[in-house]
């Protein structure tokens, strides 16, 4: 993978969630930080999000969630595993209680950003983790060859 390739991120709402403020604001500052943002908008099923991740060859899936159950986020993780796409970083933002944050992380969500998270914390997290994964992949590639 080329080090200079722009980081590609999907930002999406999931299921019937129609609260778009978080998703729109985050998309805007990720673009400002030089990332390629594919904003999927509302009414996206886990299947649609994963399909878009394949088509768009993204590094990160960002899900904005304002809900009271999080099963569809877990479905995204399961689908990615099924398709051997473990290198895609899944991050979630929204009104999610601490206990649920812990559960989502145990299920494979890389990080959860609660309301009022700073843009810097989100951008820094994505950049450092995507670059780290790239380095790991390179290393693995070298060992193989």
């Amino acid at each position: 993978m080329n080090e200079k390739r722009k980081i590609r991120v999907i930002v999406s709402m999931i299921g019937l969630d129609e609260h778009t403020v978080g998703g729109v604001v985050v998309s805007s500052f990720l673009r400002d930080a030089g990332m390629e943002v594919i904003y999927l908008g509302t009414y996206k099923t886990p299947e649609m999000i994963v399909q878009a991740a394949i088509q768009e060859d993204v590094d990160v899936i960002g899900i904005s969630s304002h809900a009271s159950n999080y099963s569809q986020i877990e479905e995204v993780i399961d689908l990615l595993r099924k398709k051997n796409m473990n290198d895609v970083l899944v991050i979630v933002g929204g009104t999610i209680p601490k206990k649920q944050i812990q559960r989502l992380k145990e299920r494979g969500v890389a990080e959860v950003f609660p309301p009022q998270s700073s843009s810097k914390s989100i951008v820094d997290y994505i950049v450092s983790h995507v670059r780290q994964r790239e380095r790991e992949l390179k290393k693995a590639h070298k060992v193989q060859s």
């Binding site: 019937l16 129609e18 099923t45 009271s68 209680p97 609660p114 009022q116 700073s118």
Partner: protein
Amino acid sequence: MKRETDYGHPIKEVYGPEDVAGLSYERDLGDPGKYPYTRGYYPEGYRGRLWTQRMTAGLISSAETNKVLKKYREMGERGGMCVICDRTFAMPIDADHPIGRKEVGVLGWPGGSLLEFETLMDGIPMTGQSVTLLSTCASGPLQLAYIVVYCQKNGINLSEIHGAATSYPFANCFGQCDCQPLDLDLKLFLDAAEYTIRNGIKMRTCLLSQHAQESGLNNAQALGVEMAMLNELCGLLVNERGLDFDDVALLSFELVSIGMRFFEEIAKMRALRRMWAKVAKEKFKAKKERSLQLLMAVHTSGRTMTYQQPLNNIVRATIETLAGVIGGCTAMDNACMDNPQAEPSELAARMSLNTQHIISDETGVADVVDPLAGSYFVEYLTNKVEEEAYKVWNDIEAQGGMVAAVKKGYIQNMVEKAMRERQREVETGERVIIGVNKLVIPPEDDFEIPIKEVKIEDSEKEARRIEEWKKTRNMALIEKSLSQLYKDAQKGDRFNLMPSIIEAVRVYATAGEIMGVIRKARGLSYDPFNMIECPFNFE
């Protein structure tokens, strides 16, 4: 920290007579109960009638929501009840829809059929209190039909019911969406409104500038958008549906969002009363005095509640509740301390209702009408927010009015720009939020509040119950009523669908079925998500 209003107008250190030099008491304020009603509609204020003290309920199932409503009455809810719809009924799709079943009962009441309304209202009086059902535009006609049929079946005089059951057609711009196109929403809104007025039903329709403000618009923008919406919808009902303005004027109630800018929030409410009175009198030529009085309920802002240090939210809700009371509201539901985390826990709901009671019963604030009138600062702010709101409203009119502005994406752009600006202000510290960008503590030191949890199993259980129940219905009756609805829905936008919706509701057709049939008749897919086929054949 900037010293300016929510809408970016600089604030001075002190205000005096020169700041309100042109103010005429008779022309611009008037005594309470007198035009232009800046000081309120009632000379006796809250002494005559206290505001309705309520909490918004709705979660998991009709039976659970019914329990919560009863609990709220014990906790001191008085004057009225308020229910908000869940994700499925918002669209509306049925609980057993492939997407719906994952989110039944999420964030609200799953009101997918008359059965659900009957369960919701079990043991709760329809009269003697206001019944407010908040939902989306598309589910509004269904809720209105539930009320009509419920009253007929239970021998309740429909004219004794008051509250609200329908909603305005622009919420899709502000994140409170159904999944229907604007032209369908607009038609359904007009049908329900016309039916309500022509049948002398007192149920109102919600016009929520609260949504606009909660999506990011500032006080002046929210006020301007509100006036543009009122102007457009009243105009349509008068001109397209041939209704009398004096009837149309009583249809809407406005849910105002009250945020943290204490004096500005009060000024906004005073300005809204004055702006509506003027437009009703001068433009719409109202003949009756009541037509000049826009009913105003308050929702204290959920957006101002913070995830971090949630106990701070009790303080915020108190300040906002106080502003709403001083501003002169008819009803109030205040946000809870756990708003950014989950649905209200019992403790959080109790705190919010207690806040209202402490203000009404301990402080003396409710004893005097419009106590801040004559304050140089508040009168200045009232004039200023009105002036700024007129600019916003005029800009929307220049786009061709609210419907045209939504079609052009003008309103959506305004919202997006405003939300980005707000994020920037918080990040730079220009807008201080305690616990977020000042006096921050590590998450592990934060106080843990109780959290109301909803699990996927709860949704699945509901989905299965509905799936089974659907099979027990008299399908011949349902098909007959839906067939009529299908025919009527092909008769053009001016043909009112309420009578056939009511008949379908009466025989327990579901929200998903009714909306699906209307969609199909209009050449849309039966299922907005294209996952299920239409189970009926009317050809």
